[in-house]
């Protein structure tokens, strides 16, 4: 699975938030999307999952764009939004059933995956609960379960670490690791730099809707002219100071 974002320009309404963004996510890679509030991380993600139409440029997953084949494109993506979005009138079990139907998944096999995930996140005894009974963190876990039980090959997670308890963060990272081993790719946006530094293979730094730099930690250090022992936090601060 390869995600290619080429010269992507776009945003909401008349305002172009993104200006000619280009980066790629290769098979088996975990990529961190990093930037200040309002830099364009979520907008980039919304373009990739197809909620916004690009004004210029191209987004390809395995060479297929959303316009070439909507169904094929969408089935390759699983998305966990920053704010959990659930159907108020469906129970947890029905959310899983519905996802299986929507993505045309194998019923038994997917339920097996789902049950494992539910157990990890301690939701296995809450299958008949409605979203209104869940806390924010639990809703987020529901979203994670519904995303990671599918056989998508690109997982996009927006701000996964805020709102989850430390145990759940750890579990999520393990799941990401196993998906990576299975050859899937993961793109996640986050502000929790220490965590992403340890778990991502590559970073895309976004500033003012443009890719300021991308690559491994070492490549970034070289790019910003940083010392050998500096970390992602230092690079991040350096990038934000460039505006001044």
């Amino acid at each position: 699975m390869t995600l290619e974002v080429k010269e992507l320009t776009g945003g909401y309404g008349q305002v172009s938030v993104l200006k000619k963004e280009t980066f790629t996510v290769e098979s088996g890679q975990v990529v961190g999307l990093i930037g200040l509030n309002g830099a364009g991380k979520s907008t980039t993600i919304k373009h990739i999952i197809g909620l916004l139409n690009p004004r210029g440029g191209q987004i390809l997953i395995d060479g297929v764009s959303l316009h070439d084949d909507v169904e094929k494109y969408r089935k390759k993506i699983a998305y966990v939004p920053e704010m959990p979005i659930l159907y108020p009138e469906l129970t947890l079990r029905e959310h899983i059933e519905m996802t299986i139907m929507a993505y045309d998944l194998d019923h038994d096999k997917t339920w097996k995956n789902a049950n494992e995930l539910l157990k990890i996140f301690r939701l296995d005894n809450k299958l008949d609960w409605f979203p209104q009974n869940f806390s924010k963190g639990m809703k987020q876990k529901v979203m994670i379960v519904c995303a990671f039980m599918t056989d998508a090959s690109l997982f996009i997670i927006d701000e996964p670490f805020t709102g989850l308890d430390p145990l759940a963060v750890n579990d999520l990272l393990n799941i990401v690791e196993s998906k990576k081993k299975a050859g899937c790719s993961v793109l996640m946006s986050t502000h929790v730099l220490a965590t992403v530094q340890d778990h991502a293979d590559k970073f895309v730094l976004i500033n003012h809707g443009q890719v300021r730099a991308d690559g491994t930690l070492d490549q970034l250090k070289a790019n910003f002219g940083m010392r050998e022992d500096s970390n992602l936090d230092d690079i991040y601060i350096k990038m934000s100071n460039e505006d001044l």
């Binding site: 999952i49 197809g50 909620l51 909507v70 169904e71 094929k72 969408r74 089935k75 993506i77 998305y79 939004p81 979005i85 659930l86 159907y87 108020p88 009138e89 469906l90 129970t91 029905e94 059933e97 519905m98 299986i100 139907m101 929507a102 993505y103 045309d104 019923h107 008949d128 409605f130 209104q132």
Partner: protein
């Protein structure tokens, strides 16, 4: 404080006008006219059958008047942040509440007057009251209601107690007694008691200013609930933001979903069917309209009115289901599903066909009950079916397309 009240009142009224305009622009107004017409028709028919005083005429009048007095309270227009930001101004809030009470007295006066006016025909025919008595009681009731608005304020200050008994209960008992005495014996009793009651409570509520017992949480909660009731009412006719309908599990109805096979094409039917059954708003709307329609069809013997009721109500249920589709389409996740818009619409029309068919079947039973197995029945039933087909196969698919993106 008065400035704050006036500012809030202005904003509140603007909001109300906005919603009222939306309601009266809607097709729903048609239904109201027909409904009022049908009720008026029924009422005048009923009056026509009364030729002498009824034994339970007076009790009915007493009951209706008693219930009318329960309608309406003080609109305080308090907002959640008040309990944080305006806490220091607590003492001055008395003036604010006074102004609120003054504003809130308008609606009850109109309501009491209107109910008395409409009821007067029955009161004089069925309950044997003289016109003078009816007017005297009506005036007394208005004064009584104005007095009882003070209880709302006293509740906010946790002072609505007479000894150990709640003021509201005392007030209602007094009301029932005065109504009985003034309808059966001497109508001026109502006015005399109402004036004493009014003066007493007005005097009592003056003490509130220095009581320092304002129950912020209770007051705000009460106002929120009042607002919610109003908005929920508006929500029947138009979309009101911030009104989240209640969801109930209704496990015992799960059997209804059995026939929906878990295949990709049915994804949305799976969701829509569950949402419809569990979301109080939509199932409530369907039940309300279906029951009202059935009752009207059973009561009305005019062929043309029945025909209109049959067609209009089937159209209305279909029309009122549309917002549910819109609600679901606003969910971000569903837009990512690899499913075409066409399928979403056809799944929704499947559901609406089932719902309208149930309604059509029930109304058909009511029609057959009233008109028997006649040509008239057949015409009305077929007309209903025609509306059902029109709504599901022509109207719905076109309308729903708007909501897809």
């Amino acid at each position: 404080m008065l400035k704050l009240w006036n500012e809030r009142l202005r904003r509140h009224q603007l909001n109300q006008f906005k919603y009222l305009r939306l309601i009266f622009n809607d097709n729903f107004v048609l239904a109201f006219i027909v409904l009022i017409g049908a009720l008026g028709f029924w009422y005048s028919n009923l009056l026509g059958t009364i030729h002498h005083q009824l034994v339970f005429g007076k009790p009915i009048v007493i009951l209706l008047l008693f219930l009318t007095i329960q309608i309406g309270g003080v609109a305080t227009l308090l907002e959640d942040p008040d309990s944080t930001f305006l806490l220091v101004k607590e003492k001055e809030f008395y003036k604010y509440f006074k102004a609120a009470k003054r504003y809130s007295s308008f609606m009850p006066i109109v309501t009491v007057a209107l109910v008395n006016f409409l009821l007067s025909a029955f009161s004089s025919r069925g309950a044997g009251l003289r016109i003078v008595d009816i007017v005297v009681i009506a005036v007394g009731l208005i004064i009584y209601k104005l007095g009882s608005l003070n209880i709302n304020l006293m509740e906010i200050y946790n002072q609505a107690k007479l000894g150990n008994v709640s003021m509201r209960i005392v007030s209602n008992v007094l009301l029932v007694i005065s109504l009985i005495v003034s309808t059966y014996l001497f109508s001026w009793t109502m006015i005399v008691i109402a004036v004493i009651y009014y003066l007493f409570l007005n005097n009592q509520s003056k003490k509130l200013e220095n009581s320092g017992q304002l129950q912020w949480d209770f007051a705000i909660e009460t106002e929120n609930q009042r607002m919610f009731r109003i908005k929920r009412f508006y929500n029947l006719f138009t979309d009101v933001p911030g009104v989240n309908s209640k969801i109930k599990r209704r496990k015992w109805l799960d059997g209804l979903f059995k026939p929906i096979k878990p295949v990709s094409n049915n994804t949305y039917l799976y969701l829509f069917a569950r949402g419809f059954v569990r979301n109080n708003e939509y199932i409530g709307l369907f039940l309300r309209l279906t029951v009202i329609q059935a009752i009207m069809l059973v009561l009305i013997d005019n062929f043309y009115i029945s025909l209109i009721v049959e067609m209009l109500f089937i159209y209305l249920v279909g029309f009122q289901l549309k917002p549910y589709f819109k609600e679901v389409m606003q969910n971000l996740m569903q837009r990512l599903y690899p499913i075409e818009g066409k399928t979403k619409i056809s799944d929704f029309t499947k559901l609406s066909t089932i719902i309208l068919s149930i309604q059509w079947f029930i109304s058909a039973l009511a029609i057959v009950y009233k008109f028997g197995l006649s040509m008239n029945s057949l015409i009305i039933i077929v007309a209903g079916l025609a509306v059902l087909i029109f709504v599901n196969y022509f109207y719905m698919p076109r309308q729903l397309k708007k909501y897809l993106d």
